[in-house]
Subunit: 392 residues, 2 copies
Amino acid sequence: MSIHSFHPPVRTLMGPGPSDVNPRILEAMSRPTIGHLDPAFVGMMDEMKVLLRYAFQTTNELTMPVSAPGSAGMEMCFVNLVEPGDKVIVCQNGVFGGRMKENVERCGGTAVMVEDTWGVAVDPAKAEDALKANPDAKILAFVHAETSTGAISDAKTLTELAHQHDCLVIVDAVTSLAGSPLMVSDWDLDATYSGTQKCLSCVPGLSPVSFNQRAIDVITSRKSKVQSWFLDLNLVLGYWGGGAKRAYHHTAPVNTLYGLHEALVVLQEEGIENSWARHQKNHDALRSGLEAMGLSFVVPEGQRLPQLNAVSIPDGVDEAAVRSILLKEYNLEIGAGLGAMAGKIWRIGLMGFASNQTNVQFCLGALDAVLSSMKAPVNSGVAVDAARAVYG
Amino acid sequence: MSIHSFHPPVRTLMGPGPSDVNPRILEAMSRPTIGHLDPAFVGMMDEMKVLLRYAFQTTNELTMPVSAPGSAGMEMCFVNLVEPGDKVIVCQNGVFGGRMKENVERCGGTAVMVEDTWGVAVDPAKAEDALKANPDAKILAFVHAETSTGAISDAKTLTELAHQHDCLVIVDAVTSLAGSPLMVSDWDLDATYSGTQKCLSCVPGLSPVSFNQRAIDVITSRKSKVQSWFLDLNLVLGYWGGGAKRAYHHTAPVNTLYGLHEALVVLQEEGIENSWARHQKNHDALRSGLEAMGLSFVVPEGQRLPQLNAVSIPDGVDEAAVRSILLKEYNLEIGAGLGAMAGKIWRIGLMGFASNQTNVQFCLGALDAVLSSMKAPVNSGVAVDAARAVYG
């Protein structure tokens, strides 16, 4: 046996996440490890809660990172809020709504599915119909930014409807956080979870979450114990909650938290409105280039996420071969379709640090060259200029 | 709001973990992030499985890291193996046996507790009595190396007894992995979980696990779905299992996995037997120094973990004040007691990279100086020499 140190290739990450990580964050990760109960670390945790509240645009006290990826953040929301026998209305317009259904059922709840076409926003009218038809429902769950299709839904309206029908909302904001306006307190979202490897440009492995008082009241008045020990908020709060005395629950992922702290400092320095505007600008440029090539978007205009661009594969093109050449010859990663979209779309991410003019032009140039070399039915040689024009 | 980059103090970590992280591992963590489905990353994952099998001393195909801390590795074992109504015998001789009980009950199982005094090994005779008295038990769960007390239990004998009574074992090897002999295949352990922040000297955040065929057969013949989506082995295996085609389950914590890969390469370079011997040697030296000071161990000789030294607090000493001075004046972290041991012991870790002669002598010198300055009833000025004599 002789396995050596692993030195990864240097890629440009323009898939659905992880996105390019800011070198400041990589450097922060390599700072010396200290104990998870060290007073210096506890001070860092307090700062992180403040920074996360800014990112989520919330005053929710209970705002913190879960020590595991976004899927665990999703599960934390469901296992704490859903009890056996509870009815949850799940709006599905992509892969992640399906995962929500799995979560509801594994908590012993009943999922009422509201299906929308993959690639469009959740239809508030359908959600309202389901709320009316299910007066015993406890929760409405939906995905704010569907990473599998690139569609953004109207979280504010969906939440208003849910509250009118005495339902809480659980909101998947994995891909929206820091890339698109997400106003947790203004919109009164009850339970929101996200990830670190999308528009925060941090490494994957943590899941920021935020719960408002309405959600906390439901959790603290549960009849049954939370089925997960690791994700039980009553226990996690002993560590992440306020107060000088932190109780040991689990050993926090210290260095990854250094990375998230740095990512949030970077966001604060830029200003979240500027971050949203930057994502929009680079999306506009990428769109201009893609459309000049003759490629089309899956999601209707007005429902598109600037940070996740789902593009239809041109006729006759071997989409996997294109991605493979981009990776091998350009060290450029773009994403494949997921679930029902597999083989039908590419997903081009412009997330966080990766959302910049260099990447837009590099990606368009590379895609243009590869498609042209394959004699794909596209207009070649015009995409980069079209994008550049947007920057002025 | 103006929060700045966080620069941690440089500590020497001689508590119950995280332990000092080898700078090679910190550097590895800061390498460029790549996608979790990148062919280069998949190759790294395959190497990691080989390296983890070496660390666990096993041929178990199903050996991989869970993308969350040790508590989640524990939960993965329980949620996959325990179904509602199952009876699990849990041997408790410290904090972590209690956590196992919580896990059993949250899976809908019944925990039969076998209690041993905190600070001694699990008594196989008591375990055997419980196995005889509960012929319907499905699993025997125990902690190989109790981090809360520093006692090591006889995992081989306990497993033989369990198998004689048609029970599987779930084994907590969080603190033993790489520090004390742990022979997963020779001892035929069915489900074993560990952590990265102890004797592997990696950062916290991952939980290596290993399952043998007997455990897999139980999991694949479950009547009910695993209650956790995130920890469902049937799903996780689509990503970590063999085969060139990896299915997306969750986004792996890419950079932390770089760190674990590097930690395992370091272990391979040293040789695991040499790692065990090093832990023993440094423990012998620390013990010699502590005993020369007049301090005594909690755990009887022959049941002591070399990597976790639980020491009784001398009469009249404010133990928290001692730890606080060590931290402030020496940047040295040692651990407090946990649970029933709180206020009664210190836990001095000599784990992984932190298990070295420099740390042993530094810790003894610092402890000696602080206790002497507090006029504690100890022999001052002799500890460091006593330790040095062990090294010859």
